[in-house]
Symmetry: C2
Subunit: 333 residues, 2 copies
């Protein structure tokens, strides 16, 4: 019989559709991604084409051998620091100028690099670039919310093949984030603890959904996973903002993120996925009640009318079975 | 320069990405959908295979020539009236039995029927079936929320080709719906009017986003449209629940829904789409502050990490331009 599970951080319900649930291995991608060249002459992110992008805002060098990671404004930026900060509220039609930042993090010189196959320190370099840009953007008093994300593969919305991530800094707090803050505050008032710290504690105790654990992080399948193989990576130390991650934590995050992505890569045959780093709004980065974390969403199913119309999800897999499957995936060293 | 617009019903912001906005005609689908046979022997929804589906819960007959619309439980139901209504709340891991209804509305005997090309009265028959099932399910005191939706095409999440819609009745109110109710109540307290009635009044007055108008309905592009060609159809008479739609209104809804879908079909070359009917929870169907409506979401773009991580959308088109384009699409009589 089907089951409803509630995500306590959003209060949203998920239908675990036991009647049509697939086994974990059935989600393994059947087709091989087309193989890419190491360099593509017309790719603006490839080494040699540095002059074809907007001016760099940050770079991690490679001991005189050029660069390992480059950051620059998105050429078709969704938000722009030159947009001013005009706001208008004419009744029902409220709008404001699209002030903000939208940058691209080019993750490697190589057109065909894949995060799961990079050395651990190269993944750490990508995360170091994230932190640099997060801290830079958070210093702007007009910025209220920052989101860091990666789209891998066509089903995840990528339009450019060359491996890259994006960071968007907004002059508003998304309502979705405010709603989560409200829920977390009520929980804090009721239970005197951070809801996310509590979830982490209970997930470790229960153990059935834990995929991997490192010194500073735990990777697990949410109890109310929205979609097959939806995965969370929570830091063990309470902290509301990704901007506060330490150097040692960043190296450890590279380790567990790389391991998780390798489990997807080898266990599910390189599925398309998004990952996002969720953080508190920049004006409450010291909140005792909120927790930053990283969410990985493999794009193995399509959302349809039910999801669009209700905000609820129907998950056609069992979170505990998927977690066990990923836990047991052996990745080459 | 980019612009942020707020959807007043959800308080969520949408980025109107002017820098990369496409012209309306650029969204026209380039490939023709494969043509389907009128009957497919192995399709369980085709005429002649009536014994291959679960038992009918409703039917609209065709003057002794069989049926025009059939309704039955979904064979792989996401919710089930036999699931009981157990609920458990063991701390962080709250769950309940998947009690509810999940039915399929088969819209035509013909495997290759397309709503946009049906006669108006056939569309009305589909809507009459929706109303019958809505009222039936709303009578169950365990049911709190009902959603009616259609998935058209692979990008919209359809797995079966034969034209059909679905209705899901849930034992919970989705948090997304509760959040909209909260916003609508605050607006009602502040302004003594239904927020949706006000939006409708202002949209008619402004006129730039109106696509079509009939006696009882207005079809328009939302000011803060989430995606290209996102479209709303609002009833003019205030009513919180689809269950209260009158017979005359239902015929008029068939008229404007068919016209809207024809504008998509001929203007954008039969794009994949979802539509959903949003209604108040069943225990507040007389709410003065909430309004039922129908939302059409053509699936012309993919959501990516930004949308998943923030709940905000980046719309790469201009709502006013899209509305003008649809307004001007001529459909054959």
């Amino acid at each position: 019989m089907p089951e409803l599970r509630q995500n306590k951080t959003t209060r949203e319900w998920v239908i675990i559709a036991t009647e049509r649930a697939k086994r974990p291995e059935e989600f393994r991608s059947k087709e091989q991604k087309k193989s890419l060249p190491e360099t593509k002459p017309d790719c603006v992110f490839c080494a040699g084409n540095e002059d074809k992008t907007p001016a760099e805002t940050f770079r991690i060098g490679d001991n005189g051998k050029g660069w390992k990671v480059r950051v620059m404004p998105n050429k078709f930026a969704a938000l722009n620091p030159d947009a001013g900060n005009r706001s208008s509220d004419t009744g029902i039609f409220r709008k404001m100028a699209g002030y903000g930042y939208h940058e691209v993090i080019v993750e490697s010189q190589k057109h065909n690099a894949v995060t799961a196959l990079l050395p651990e320190n190269d993944v750490a370099d990508i995360l170091r670039a994230y932190k640099n840009r997060y801290i830079f953007m958070a210093q702007d008093p007009e910025i209220k919310g920052i989101i860091i994300f990666k789209n891998h593969g066509a089903a995840a919305g990528t339009s450019l093949e060359h491996p890259h991530s994006q960071v968007v800094a907004m002059p508003v707090v998304p309502h979705q984030v405010r709603s989560r803050m409200d829920i977390a505050i009520i929980n804090y008032d009721d239970h005197h603890e951070c809801l996310y710290c509590r979830i982490l504690k209970d997930e470790i105790k229960e153990g059935t959904r834990v995929i991997a654990e490192t010194e500073h992080f735990v990777c697990f399948t949410p109890f109310a996973a929205l979609t097959p193989f939806h995965t969370w990576i929570y830091p063990k130390r309470h902290s509301a903002s990704f901007g506060q991650v330490t150097g040692a934590e960043l190296e450890d995050l590279a380790k567990i993120l790389r391991l998780s992505l390798r489990k997807f890569y080898f266990g599910l045959n390189d599925p398309d996925f998004n990952y996002v780093i969720r953080s508190a709004p920049t004006d409450c980065c010291d909140a005792t009640y909120f927790h930053w974390y990283l969410s990985v969403i493999p794009r193995l199913t399509k959302s349809a009318g039910f999801e669009l119309g209700s905000g609820m999800f129907i998950n056609v897999s069992l979170p505990e079975e998927n977690a066990r499957f990923l836990r047991e995936v052996k990745t080459p060293d």
